[in-house]
């Protein structure tokens, strides 16, 4: 299925769990991979995760029924991979790099600033469901540090002012769209 770095997927508005969507996804996937011996459960879960920004329990049950795979296998996959979430994620995903190079250049201050501005704790989603904050250990762009990955886009050489600009801009965008 390749890498899923479709930033548009993150801007979709929040949806109620709609099982017909899941059936569609499953049917598409079955058509796509019907000749393969190994069923790509991970791809199905990735599609569902893109659609809902998390894996709803009902969706997992539906997949296990439709694909005749055990629920425990799906759950084990969903908890193993970091790209899956079992609780709803925010509209925007922010990953703050806490790797050595970024740490030396003040990543902890960046994290503190983001935490304070958005009222989110690392690993959590803000109460209005707009932002999910995560800390990561290295994204492999140490020359750009301190670094934040905002919805899959790398924002490097950050200062506290730049952070404000980045978040401020997105706040405006949210107001326009909503």
């Amino acid at each position: 299925m390749g890498l899923r770095t479709n930033p548009k997927a993150c801007y979709r508005s929040y949806m109620k769990v709609d099982l017909t969507k899941i059936d569609q996804i499953i049917n598409q996937i079955i058509d796509k991979y019907k000749d393969d011996e190994d069923v790509p459960y991970i791809s199905i879960l990735q599609d569902i995760n893109d659609e809902y920004r998390y894996l709803p329990e009902e969706a997992l049950y539906r997949v296990s029924q439709k694909m005749e795979v055990s629920m425990s296998h799906l759950y084990s996959l969903a908890t193993f991979y970091k790209c899956f979430s079992l609780v709803p994620k925010g509209e925007h995903e922010i990953q703050v790099c806490m790797g050595t190079a970024c740490h030396v250049r003040g990543a902890s201050r960046i994290l503190e600033k983001v935490t304070r501005d958005l009222q989110v704790k690392p690993g959590k989603t803000s109460e209005n469901g707009k932002f999910s904050l995560e800390t990561v250990n290295c994204v492999g762009a140490c020359a750009q540090g301190p670094l934040v990955v905002f919805d899959g886009k790398y924002v490097g050489k950050l200062t506290l002012n730049k952070i404000e600009k980045m978040l401020g801009g997105n706040h405006e965008k949210d107001n326009k769209t909503s």
Binding site: M71, S72, H73, S76, T79, F80
Partner: protein
């Protein structure tokens, strides 16, 4: 057939046989915690490690997952193997001191001290219950959840599973579920109550006759060879 050397013996086994199965066939005992004959090999506990290759250029492999190859030189009880195995047992005792299986292994392999702080875990993540539920019971009710240090065995969403038939096979096969016998000693991380038991052969013969457990050969031969 595949010919190889097992502890100096020239042996031959069928193609596809693992070293653990070959050793079992030739009566050499290798301790395991995560292996069961009816289940697929997993290689999680590492207790079954053996030394392969010529001395000096040898390496340790888990015998339950390593298939016998032509001309292989396998040593199941070399100094290096025993040293590594004892360290592993020591760590298992520290991880889960309440398990009878692990305590008995410690006594058997003369592990007399534990240098690690006890963790008192309920699970050693051997995966026997998961494979039992999947392969033998065909229920697939439990699986590994999370990863790394947060890994554990659980049902989906930690709820009562619809797939579970309450057969109890997972508990039957679990090496950590069987609680240790305490005996008259005061509570300790390491039991070692069976440590002083001598091999039964020594009562009748001058030398240990076999490494089988339980040793039946010398009991059968008692009236034939009362040499001592």
């Amino acid at each position: 057939m595949v010919n190889f050397t097992l502890n100096g013996l020239e042996v031959s086994v069928e193609k596809g046989t693992t070293l653990l199965e070959a050793a079992d066939f030739y009566g050499i005992e290798i301790p395991t915690l995560c292996h069961d004959k009816g289940l697929s090999p997993y290689g999680a506990c590492r207790l079954c490690l053996v030394e392969i290759g010529t001395p000096g250029r040898s390496r340790l492999v888990s015998s339950c997952t390593y298939q016998a190859r032509e001309g292989l030189n396998v040593r199941t009880h070399s100094e290096r193997v025993i040293k590594a195995r004892k360290l592993l047992i020591e760590m298992y005792v520290a991880l889960c001191p309440s398990s009878k299986v692990i305590q008995c292994l410690a006594s058997k392999y003369h592990v007399t001290k534990v240098r690690f702080s006890p963790k008192h875990e309920d699970c050693i993540l051997c995966g026997l219950c998961v494979r039992m539920c999947d392969e033998q019971m065909q229920a697939k009710a439990i699986s590994f959840v999370n990863r790394g240090g947060r890994r554990l065995v659980s049902t989906p969403f930690a709820k009562k599973s619809e797939d579970c038939r309450l057969c109890g096979a997972c508990i039957y096969i679990c090496p950590a579920c069987q609680t240790r016998c305490q005996g008259p000693q005061e509570e300790n991380i390491l039991c070692n109550a069976c440590l002083n038991l001598e091999p039964p052969c020594l009562e009748k013969f001058e030398d240990v006759m076999c490494y089988m457990d339980p040793c039946v050969a010398c009991e059968l031969n008692t009236d034939k060879k009362p040499n001592k």
